[in-house]
Amino acid sequence: MTTCLLKTRGLTKHFGGLVAVEGVDFELQQGQVRALIGPNGAGKTTLVGMISGRISPTSGMVEFDGQNVTRLPAHKRIMAGMAYTFQITSVFVNLSAGENVALAARRRLNGTEADKAVRKSLDRLGLLDRIDQEAGELSYGHQRLLEIAMGLVQNPRLLILDEPTQGLSDGEIADFKLLVRELAGETTVLLIEHNMSVVMETADEVTVLNFGEVLAEGTPLAIREDQTVQSAYLGTS
């Protein structure tokens, strides 16, 4: 039996007169890898922003691990077990790669334990030999990976990744797919992704967002065959 880790009800965000997200009911089971896809401007980043607490919703409710967190500020949600990686790379460019990950680790670990976790996390993403390098000196792809390492080291129950493969090389994308499959057993992953091969190979289920509303939900295969999804992407609806 699966338990529901994350649930939203009627989640809505208006910016002025603009509807970004409208009445989204969303459920995510523990241990699942869920991909969130949709055309540009469909409201994906706004939706995960409201889930993580970066953006306050106009109306609606977010429940995490059976608790209503709608009114909880972002940092408390993170402490409750969410981790969020940014779409636009926002590592601390003037700090070392190690310090970047250590900042994330120190929320739950101290001293040598934090050091160990930092090394382990960097190692997992193949960045251990860059631990003392300034994050700003890393290549773009490595900065993306560092961002993921910062998410992993928090040992989150829900890992939210916003377009993690953007700008990665083919080799790095292949490694990333392996990593997500590994994580599937350990944690729950919510993945915003444009690269369909990543979606098809890593996600257990896919949610499609269009004009701020849920258009379809299902297995990757089912979504790929879905007529409405195809027309949304091709713009022929």
Binding site: R54, H75, K76, S90, V91, L95, L103, R106, R107
Partner: protein, 314 residues
């Protein structure tokens, strides 16, 4: 030598050097250095908020004056001994900086600068308004008899020098410890990218609040010591100028470096001291320095040193 050893050698060496200078300096520079050490402590406090947390305050004179008047008024009107009076100055600093932080930290950037400026100005005017007790611009003298701290006469130049040296040493070590402690490193991360720190699960508001209170309390300690060591409290220490000074010293020395505030205060003090022989318009030097530093050397002296040669400087 490891970085750790270099840091200890350099900073420890400076503290020892300042201690030793007491025995060799001629009286005039001896007195100057005592003043500089107290003002540098003020700058160290300012730097914790500006250099390490990235919050540019234009109102630190409020904290400096809170410490000074907290101390001086309790000696002058309540006839307290210097020790509890210093403590009163510190408490005043904690309360005032905590209150201002709770209000001003609701804003960011330019608004934060203006809000701190306005509240500090209101503080200055309040000192004038209660001129009956504070004696306004004219200020009041703290008599030699009122400056006996545990039997030590603080109006004596030697004792004064050691008290100033003690204050600087404490502030210096506190800053050094802070910026290497996880809390201080989180402040640096907030300076770099606050939103990211928040999304790592940190309550950034609480961090900034604490930083502003530490910064304000050190400023208040410097204000209280300044009044006690030099025997005077006046409204001029609450003016906008005294908010600009620490900014200037820190910019000159290097924001976000432990050594910078002291170096900046030392240079600017002597720059103004030398120019005052030539013109009464000594604030001109401050103005030119502010513009030139912003334009050409935003890193300051120690910042440049760190960028070019000594990457390990904290």
């Amino acid at each position: 030598m490891s970085d750790q050893a270099k840091i200890i050698a350099l900073h420890g060496g400076l503290i020892l050097l300042l201690f030793a200078l007491q025995f060799v300096l001629p009286a005039y520079h001896h007195g100057n250095l005592a003043r500089i050490m107290v003002l540098a402590s003020y700058a160290i406090g300012y730097n914790i908020l500006f250099g390490y947390t990235g919050l540019l305050s234009l109102g630190h004179a409020l904290f400096f004056a809170a410490g000074m008047y907290g101390m001086a008024l309790s000696i002058h009107h309540l006839e307290w001994a210097p020790a509890p009076a210093l403590l009163a100055g510190l408490v005043a600093g904690i309360l005032v900086s905590g209150t201002l932080a709770l209000l001003a930290l609701r804003t960011t950037g330019v608004a934060f600068m203006i809000v701190t400026l306005m509240f500090a100005q209101a503080g200055y005017l309040t000192v004038l308004y209660f001129g009956e007790y504070t004696r306004g611009d004219e200020g009041f003298v703290i008599q030699q008899a009122q400056r006996m701290l545990w039997g030590v006469d603080l109006s004596d130049p030697v004792n004064r020098y050691f008290a100033a040296w003690g204050l600087l040493t404490v502030c210096f070590l506190a800053a050094l410890w802070l910026v290497r402690h996880p809390f201080g490193r989180t402040l640096i991360a907030i300076r770099e990218n606050e939103e990211r720190v928040r999304m790592l699960g940190y309550n950034t508001f609480a961090h900034k609040l604490t930083a502003m209170m530490i910064s304000g309390t050190i400023a208040a300690a410097a204000g209280a010591f300044y009044g006690l060591l030099f025997g005077y409290a006046g409204a001029s220490f609450a003016t906008v100028q005294y908010s600009i000074f620490p900014l200037l010293w820190v910019l000159l020395g290097g924001a976000g470096t432990v050594l910078g505030p002291f170096i900046g205060t030392l240079f600017m003090f002597y720059l103004i001291d030398l120019s005052s022989g030539i013109t009464t318009a000594y604030m001109l030097i401050a103005g030119v320095a502010l513009v030139a530093l912003t334009l050409f050397a935003p890193q300051g002296l120690v910042g440049e040193l760190r960028r070019r040669f000594w990457g390990w400087l904290p």
